[in-house]
């Protein structure tokens, strides 16, 4: 099973009764999988901060709770995260954070291990699905034994790698009585001053646990070559150097200092193999050990066995005399075709994607567009090139406010005043956009917010959210009324458009962008992967009429291809959205009845 599935099974096994998350690659499937087990209340929260607070409440209330998020989600939840260790738990709480080295689907590749150190919270790092499963149970025991949250850090290659898990499905039972303890749980300064020393001294006890934990494992083989590693990096190191001695750490905050010293004492120098930041390396250096890590191992991107072998092999040979350091380079056939000359294949918005029409219509408006996190971020690529800037969830709204303030007080950028547009999805708007919109109205800002309401959280794989009217547990519920919400925060001008109707979309955008008030445009059409297009109505190019002008290509639709001098529509891919027909000046794109 995948690492994410293993975490879910571990949660079920540990008797978790409450689980919460906001979807985010690579962590999404943890909660999706949890929702398949009986007797666990689980929810998609509006954002990660809410999810964590739900988890804290549940833990105080005596139910084991698990909260999952991707690395940048932990930034959103950082506020409760930093104070949670002060108030402690009742039943255990485990926070699972999934980092994304290599940024397969993320805007940065931060190393979340530092969050454990910053909050003084124990940190476990599994190296495969089996360990992920086991460590969830262990994390809950630690959490309750030491009255602390526990951070379980995984990475993309744990989350989305599958490996064998031996398990039983016996459900644990944890149901602890709730007793009021306001001095411990209400952090007025006077109480917090009492609690901080507890958090600090807790670390000594935790370090003893780390020293004794069998999952921190010494694999003593070579008497000359010693490597310290953790998580998936262990797998790369083990494969690259099959004969090396390895200290494989699983409990990585606080570090088991005695164990590390003992291991390191066997070697002149130890090598640290870890992805992203020199977290372990700094810890070892602080112990005064002779360590080599990031001097050779990259600090960005993913590792793999070759990379580890290549970067350390020669060096280890120089240090120890072991040939190649024990690494065997791969045999690559000579004459490999040069891949650097190949055209790239960036991800694209799907044929029929409702975002396409909106960005095409917006391209006429001379707007400065601040984007957000979702499929629509792909509009930054040619030919739509629809975004100017993007940072994180919700920032599309607030940055638009800032841009407008800069433009409206500027001489050199005066022509852009009123042209700021913030663009984000329905799920993202609920996640972190609402407060920015309140700010916009409150401070009387002449900017436009476009909510791309595709009725789902698309990029992460179609999760429901408060606007869809369905819960993670599959229940029908109140569907958030976006128009009513925007009206309620004081936006008078809320317009709803169908992005498959270019003329109307362009008209509404023209009227709202550049107006003197805060306006919201809701571009509403379900994700085409959720609700396919007409299917019985496709489009094709009349070659006689096609002038080869290329206007249809400006849509960036993968179904529209240039073959020689003429455009062609791939009927396998076409879903009948009609955008190409709408933009074709000579009228060379025609409807085809595909129903028969």
């Amino acid at each position: 099973m995948s690492g994410n599935e293993a975490v879910a099974l571990g949660a079920y096994r540990a008797g978790v009764r409450v689980a919460a998350a906001y979807p985010g690659t690579p962590s999404t499937e943890i909660l999706e999988e949890i929702s398949t087990y009986p007797d666990i209340y689980c929810e998609w929260s509006p954002n990660e901060k809410v999810a964590m607070e739900v988890g804290i409440g549940a833990a105080l209330g005596g139910a084991r709770s698990l909260v999952a998020m991707k690395h940048v989600g932990l930034n959103v939840a950082a506020d409760p995260w930093m104070t949670l260790p002060y108030i402690g738990v009742n039943a255990g709480i485990v926070v699972v954070v999934a980092d994304d080295p290599g940024m397969h689907s993320s805007q940065n590749e931060q190393d979340s291990r530092y969050y454990a150190r910053m909050a003084k919270v124990p940190l476990l790092e599994p190296a495969d699905s089996q360990e992920a499963y086991e460590m969830v149970g262990l994390a809950f025991e630690l959490s309750e034994r030491h009255d602390t949250p526990v951070l379980l850090r995984i990475e993309t290659r744990i989350s989305h790698s599958r490996s064998v898990v031996e398990h039983d499905e016996k459900r644990g039972q944890v149901d602890l009585p709730y007793e009021k303890d306001a001095v411990k749980r209400v952090m007025i300064p006077g109480h917090a001053r009492l609690r901080h020393p507890v958090v600090v001294s807790r670390l000594e006890e935790l370090e003893k646990e780390a020293e004794a934990l069998p999952l921190n494992r010494e694999e003593l083989l070579s008497p000359q070559v010693g490597i310290v590693t953790s998580g998936v990096s262990y797998q790369y190191a083990r494969e690259a150097f099959p004969d090396a001695s390895i200290l494989k750490l699983a409990f990585v905050y606080p570090l088991p200092q005695m164990l590390i010293r003992e291991f390191a004492s066997r070697f002149h120098r130890v090598y640290v193999v870890e992805e992203l930041e020199p977290y372990l390396e700094e810890g070892l250096k602080a112990l005064g050990l002779d360590v080599l890590g990031k001097a050779r191992i990259p600090r960005d991107g993913e590792l793999d066995p070759n990379l580890v072998g290549e970067r350390l092999g020669e060096l280890i040979e120089m240090d120890t005399g072991v040939k190649g350091g024990g690494w065997t380079p791969p045999h690559i056939r000579p004459g490999l075709p040069d891949k650097t000359v190949l055209p790239a294949r960036p991800p694209v918005m799907c044929p029929g994607c409702p975002h396409r029409g909106l960005f095409y219509a917006l391209s006429k408006a001379g707007a400065v567009a601040s984007g957000d996190i979702g499929c629509y971020t792909l509009s930054v690529l040619p030919p739509l090139e629809g975004l100017d800037c993007q940072v994180c969830m919700g920032a599309g709204v607030s940055m638009a406010l800032g841009l407008e303030r800069a433009f409206s007080t500027s001489q050199v950028n005066a022509d852009k005043a009123g042209k700021s547009v913030g663009i984000l999805g329905d799920s993202t708007f609920i996640h972190a956009g609402i407060t920015g919109l309140i700010d916009m109205v409150y401070n009387q800002t002449a900017a436009t917010i476009i909510i791309l309401d595709n009725r789902t959280t698309a990029m992460t794989g179609f999760q429901d959210h408060p606007g869809t009217g369905i819960t993670l547990m599959g229940k029908e519920t109140h569907a958030l009324d976006l128009e009513g919400l925007c009206n309620a925060v004081g936006v008078d001008s809320v317009r709803v458009i169908d992005p498959w109707d270019l003329e109307e979309s362009e008209k509404v955008i023209r009227e709202e962008v550049g107006s003197d008030h805060t306006s919201v445009i809701i571009s509403r059409r379900a994700c085409v992967l959720l609700e396919r297009g007409p299917r019985d109505l496709l489009y094709r190019v009349d070659e006689e009429e096609c002038t080869g002008c290329g206007r249809c290509l400006k849509l960036g639709c993968p179904a529209v291809v240039m073959r020689g001098e003429k455009a062609m529509i791939d009927e396998d891919q076409c879903v009948g959205c009609s955008l190409c027909e709408q933009v074709c000046k000579p009228g060379a794109i025609l409807e085809v009845d595909a129903s028969g």
Binding site: V164, P330, C350
Partner: protein, 193 residues
């Protein structure tokens, strides 16, 4: 240890295909690891899945030059990931071209001689039109099962293990088509050996 790299375009079904392969290897009692790509990379982008099995598997990632079998669902993606193939490995290549956006827009050239470059480089090559064969079986989207059918000829897993894995992971309404696609692939694979 046996290493298989699957390269294709997001949406072609490489993730599901890898899962069926992994399940088959697992049913034979091996330690199995796979690696797949979710999220943004799936939106029509270039994707790679990996499956490894043996007595004990460490890394979920197959190193460059480490793949015994290379299943390419598309020609350009085949060229892009050819480096994973080991020097004596076997490539199973779907002769299918899917233009990426820069090519559609005329900003870049599709490598017209892709198949020849692959032929010149690969020691053991099986070429097939898996999409056409899948269409013959009932649905061009079942091309992953055709590819697995070809691969099955080179591996000693029993046919019913493959079929059980297909039944487990393919939705009920598509099972028959995928089993047929697998059989067609296996036939064609047997003819190529």
């Amino acid at each position: 240890m046996v290493n298989v790299v699957l390269a294709g375009v997001g949406g072609q079904g490489a993730v599901l295909t890898a899962r069926i392969l992994a399940e088959t290897a697992l049913s034979a009692g091996y330690d199995v690891k796979t690696s797949e790509v979710h999220g943004m990379a799936q939106r029509g982008g270039s994707v790679v899945s990996m499956v490894r099995w043996g007595e004990k598997v460490y890394s979920p990632l197959i190193p460059v030059g480490g793949a015994d079998y290379f299943l390419a669902f598309e020609l350009l993606e085949s060229l892009r990931r050819l480096e994973y193939l080991s020097d004596e490995g076997t490539a199973i290549v779907n002769e299918y071209r899917l233009d990426p956006l820069p090519v559609l827009r005329g900003d870049a050239q599709y490598p017209e001689d892709a198949l020849n470059s692959i032929r010149a480089y690969v020691a053991h090559l099986v070429e097939l039109d898996a999409r056409r064969m899948a269409a013959e079986a009932g649905n061009p989207r079942a091309l992953g099962s055709v590819m697995l059918g070809v691969l099955s000829v080179f591996l000693d897993f029993p046919t019913d293990a493959w079929e059980q894995a297909i039944n487990r992971f393919v939705p009920a309404k598509a099972r028959e088509v995928n089993l047929k696609a697998f059989a067609l692939g296996r036939e064609s694979g047997a003819a190529s050996v």
